[in-house]
């Protein structure tokens, strides 16, 4: 508890944190002033426990969005360090640039060699600037596509990690064909003759996530989201009020649970109370296990069956009636 003050606090955690801080100062007092505060402390501890449980077991979609953005949440780089071995990053799109916001490389997962793609977010300002806060430029998507094709050529399964607020909406990005780069990724990802397993580990923002964000399996962390539009932008469009993002989060049905219910996510990996940042190693281990299991399943399929079933999977998405 001594690190409460240093922890990054999400908006909705404020009442809990206030109570935790009060408890901590009481305990401090208790050390100094003797044991007469014990009863009060015990009561407060019970209150803190109850609030914590209530708060974290009844998370709203908007609260989950905040958890998905938590800076201490495990990011792609953490999975690369913890879940994979022998990681070799591959740089560049061979056309224009190398985009640090998009990781691409080769690695071992258990005894299996795979290609890994993932949006990258930093832990501090320097890293965040370097990774452009996880928002790729066209060259990031083109690098990803290049490595998809490399994986395809050499029969390496592709594992992708989603963690982006979206493709970067810059002026030069538009001029260099952000839409073209994403579209090309989508076409390529739909036709690679190797298994594709996608993991939503944090933010899954729109086309920038989708570019590496579908395949044969979609695994979502409990507090990851995946959405057609950011809640803030949705609220701006609907009400000209970004502050109504909480409401929009609910409407958009963007949580892992929503995706599972809609049949879009195949599996939801649970997180500890409060979010993956509370116990990254356990969460990352569970993700590694889930990915390996998915690859085991998919490895049994011949390539033709694999891409046929990937296509059918996509074709089945959508809700409409025939009059």
């Amino acid at each position: 508890m001594s690190d409460v003050a240093r922890r990054f606090v999400m908006e909705f955690e404020r009442p809990l944190v206030d109570l935790e801080e009060k408890l901590e100062s009481l305990k401090h007092l208790s050390v100094v002033e003797g044991a007469e505060l014990a009863v009060e402390i015990a009561a407060l501890e019970a209150e803190v426990d109850e609030l914590r449980t209530t708060l974290y077991t009844s998370l709203t979609p908007w609260e989950r969005v905040q958890i998905s953005r938590h800076p201490e949440r495990p990011h792609t780089d953490d999975y690369l360090a913890d879940v994979f071995r022998d990681v070799i990053e591959l740089h560049g799109d061979r056309l224009y640039g190398d985009d640090a916001a998009m990781f691409a490389g080769l690695a071992s997962l258990g005894t299996r060699k795979v290609a890994v793609l993932g949006h990258r977010k930093g832990r501090n300002t320097t890293e965040n600037v370097r990774y452009n806060f996880g928002s790729p430029h066209p060259e990031g998507f083109r690098k990803a596509e290049r490595v998809m094709l490399l994986a395809d050529r050499f029969g390496l399964p592709i594992v992708t990690f989603l963690d982006t607020a979206g493709a970067y909406p810059g002026l030069e990005d538009e001029d260099r064909g952000q839409a073209w780069a994403i579209a090309s990724c989508l076409a390529t990802l739909s036709r690679v003759r190797v298994p594709v397993v996608t993991v939503g580990i944090g933010e899954g923002g729109s086309g920038g996530a989708l570019a590496i964000g579908f395949g044969d399996r979609l695994i979502m962390l409990e507090n990851a989201y995946y959405s057609v539009i950011s809640p803030e932008m949705c609220a701006t469009i609907l009400h000209k009020e970004p502050a109504r993002a909480a409401e929009a989060s609910g409407c958009l049905q963007l949580t892992a649970q929503d995706l599972e219910r809609m049949g879009l996510a195949d599996e939801v990996v649970p997180e500890p109370l409060g979010g993956a940042q509370r116990d990254p190693v356990t969460v990352m281990g569970a993700v590694g296990t889930a990915v390996a299991r998915a690859l085991d399943d998919l490895g049994a399929l011949p390539a033709d069956a694999l891409i046929a079933s990937r296509y059918e999977r996509l074709r089945a998405i959508g809700e409409y009636s025939s009059e």
Partner: protein, 291 residues
């Protein structure tokens, strides 16, 4: 048929048989007078209509309705709609802002269309094609399940029958009221486009004003040849978002067809008066090798 003859034929068809006005044609010809957003002049609606929605004064290419687009692209009477029975649901029961179910109903009433895209079989210069046209009046021609499904089926129909696909595209992007089901239509249509390309069947896209967001970032830009209309706004991120991101004014011409031509993103910018002829020329070339 040369394009001039065809225009004459079209005129005759339109003006000698006025008993049944084409579905949705009111948009441009709502009143007798309309205002051009390009030059701000007031135009006689009939003039604009006869000029295929191109302002006779400043050349601005106004949006066309789906029916007007079919009329200007396809051989007269050749369009045969497919999948016209598909209707959007309200899978998220989206209630923020205008309830989605109401928005669809209003769009249907306003346009006379079932959804934001019409797809069908047709002839262009005598060539059999599969054609799809989008209508921006229908919830900004955003891509929900029905748009995605009809587009995907159009790709599949072109693939199965081995006839070229021509899509006249306009869209504000994904349809957020369908949430992730909408986003995934990008992957679905892109996958269908990839299959058509792998089958070696031509696909020509006509990007019209505006083509933005998830549609630009999926099937729209996966065409073998991309033609755009003059002045059409084409991009991924909305210009206001880009402006907020870069914190300075956008340069003149940003995200226009002409600017993107210079940036290597599109093959041709073609005025509406030559569009049909150009597309037919492309189809004749692309279909020639298969013979």
């Amino acid at each position: 048929m040369p394009i001039s003859d065809w225009f004459r034929a079209r005129e005759q068809r339109r003006y000698t048989a006025p008993s049944e006005p084409p579905r949705g044609s009111e948009s441009l010809a709502d009143g007798v007078w309309v205002r051009c957003e390009g030059c701000k002049r007031t135009l006689y609606a009939g003039d604009l209509e006869r000029g295929l929605g191109v302002c006779p004064s400043c050349g601005r290419h106004h949006q066309l309705t789906a029916d007007q687009r079919i009329d200007m692209l396809c051989d007269p009477g050749s369009f045969d709609e497919i999948d016209g029975d598909l209707r959007s649901g309200d899978p998220l029961e989206f209630r923020s802002g205008k309830p989605y179910a109401e928005a669809i109903e209003a769009a249907q009433d306003n346009t006379g269309l079932p959804e934001a895209v019409l797809t069908g079989r047709a002839l262009m210069g005598g060539l059999p094609v599969v054609v799809g046209v989008m209508d921006f009046r229908f919830i900004g021609a955003s891509m929900g399940s029905v748009v995605g499904e009809r587009i995907a089926r159009a790709f599949e129909s072109a693939c199965d029958r081995r006839v070229p696909l021509v899509l006249a595209i306009a869209s504000g992007g994904a349809r957020m009221q369908e949430g992730m089901l909408s986003l995934m239509q990008m992957a679905k249509t892109a996958a269908a486009a990839a299959r058509l390309a792998d089958a070696g069947v031509p696909y020509v896209a006509i990007l019209t004003d505006p083509t933005m967001g998830g549609v630009t970032a999926s099937f729209a830009t996966l065409a073998d040849v991309i033609v755009a209309e003059p002045g059409a706004r084409i991009g991924f991120a909305g210009p206001r978002l880009v402006e907020r991101t870069i914190r300075r004014a956008l340069p003149k011409g940003f995200q226009t067809a002409e600017s993107l031509l210079g940036h290597g993103m599109i093959d041709l910018v073609v005025e509406r008066g030559s569009l049909r002829e150009t597309v037919i020329g492309l189809l004749v070339c692309l279909a020639a090798g298969g013979e």
